[in-house]
């Protein structure tokens, strides 16, 4: 079955689950389980990552309209990676550190090493999509 004939892509379903439904459910469970926690932080997280998750689902769905090796597929894949990084940033609070309370005392989580790992994985994915685009583009050019 050609990719363009599918109504909903598996990638879009996975993105919907992984970037939207599971995190939202987790946050609602946390808010219900720990009413003493400040809701403000979680509301801010939801405010940022929900639109990004919707964009990721739409990109995933749009990418099945084009075959591998197509310039538009490449563009959508790279955009997907960029938005995934933004989603992760939104999820960790949008900065390199998070201040939380530890018992009655405040503590700070410094996440710069974690962010380096995020960027490394993002670059790795971009390299993959570039190689995929180059490999399949050759096939398209040869066929035409």
């Amino acid at each position: 079955m050609p990719a363009t004939d599918r109504r909903i892509s598996i990638k879009a379903i996975i993105a919907l689950l992984f970037y939207l439904i599971i995190p939202l459910t987790a946050i609602f469970i946390i808010i219900a389980t720990y009413p003493e926690l400040s809701k403000e932080r979680f509301v801010t997280m939801v405010y940022w990552f929900v639109p990004l998750a919707i964009i990721l689902v739409l990109i995933s769905q749009a990418s099945i309209r084009y075959p591998k090796g197509h310039n538009m597929t490449f563009f959508l894949d790279i955009t997907y990676v960029v938005f995934t990084v933004l989603w992760l940033f939104a999820f960790i609070g949008g900065g390199l550190s998070i201040t939380q309370s530890w018992g009655e005392y405040e503590f700070t989580l410094h996440l710069w090493k974690y962010v380096v790992v995020i960027l490394f994985v993002a670059v790795f994915n971009m390299i993959y999509y570039t190689l995929e685009w180059k490999t399949y583009r050759k096939e398209i050019n040869q066929a035409s």
């Binding site: 926690l37 530890w102 005392y105 989580l109 180059k134």
Partner: protein, 278 residues
């Protein structure tokens, strides 16, 4: 590049992405929802003891780290300092490379070992005479999730310190003078203190002996020695009952002092701190 190699890279990329997403959701949310907690003892949870042979004051307590996160907390470094309101450091406590395994609660014993002979007289005087605020400055560093997350705690806990001798001053006419004279060694001098100090120094230049004892066991004995020009030698012995230690701390020191060019000069010598149990 052939498609087989491309597929392997794809698998690696997906695996890394899924792991990263899982780490983000599972671990960060755990940390943010009291998955890790620290219980620091409050004022009433300290135990004091004295080792009279080695002249050590031992303060014992414990703190608990609850690690209900998915990974061990490692490389916990703790630095705690007690600082007086005048900025003098009374105590510096350090522990390094502690660890708390995932899913466990761990108690750490705090044993502060203070040599009574090593406490500077200046700090003793500050604590004896001056109501102040003692600041416990706590710095904690730790690593979580393979060191990818660095945790830091920088807390300053202020506690009021009521100087044991300051409350006795009004009961005896001469006490403010004496306290002023001794305390001038460490106090920041304002005009009012300067007046008290000068009066006290003038008084102590004249008397051969001064003794004061309170009902609660505080004793001050000052013995005047030889005068040399504008300076005079004094032998001082101060006994302070400490209920928490079930005994007394005796501070013995000699000093020369006087007024030179209208300025109070005080030189403290031969300090000795003695503990005596009841």
């Amino acid at each position: 590049m052939n498609k087989e190699k491309l597929r392997l890279i794809r698998i690696a990329a997906i695996t890394m992405s899924v792991m990263l997403g899982t780490l983000t959701m599972c671990n960060l949310l755990t940390v943010m929802t009291h998955g890790i907690e620290l219980e620091i003892p409050d004022e009433g949870q300290y135990t004091w003891a004295i080792d009279p042979v080695d002249m050590k004051m031992i303060i014992m307590s414990e703190f608990t780290v609850k690690n209900h996160g998915a990974y061990d907390i490692e490389n916990i470094d703790i630095n705690a300092r007690i600082i007086t309101g005048q900025g003098k450091e009374l105590l510096n406590y350090e522990e390094k490379d502690l660890a708390v395994s995932s899913g466990s609660d761990k108690k750490f014993d705090i044993i502060l070992d203070i040599s009574l002979n090593d406490i500077e007289l200046e700090n003793w005087l500050t604590l004896l005479y001056m109501d102040t605020t003692l600041s416990l400055v706590v710095d904690i560093d730790a690593e979580y999730m393979f060191g990818l997350i660095h945790l830091t705690v920088d807390e300053t806990l202020d506690r009021d310190w009521i100087a044991p001798l300051s409350s006795y001053a009004p009961e005896h006419d001469i006490m403010p003078w004496i306290l002023g004279a001794f305390g001038s060694y460490s106090m920041a001098i304002d005009q009012q203190i300067w007046d008290i100090q000068k009066t006290a120094v003038e008084y102590l230049m004249e008397v051969d002996e001064f003794y004061y004892a309170s009902e609660d066991g505080y004793e001050i004995l000052v013995t005047g020695q030889n005068s040399s020009g504008e300076l005079r030698e004094l032998e001082c012995a101060i006994t302070i009952p400490v209920d928490a230690l079930s005994g007394n701390i005796m501070l013995e020191y000699s000093m020369t002092f006087g007024i030179v060019n209208d300025i109070v000069v005080i030189n403290v010598q031969e300090v000795k701190v003695v503990y005596a149990s009841n």
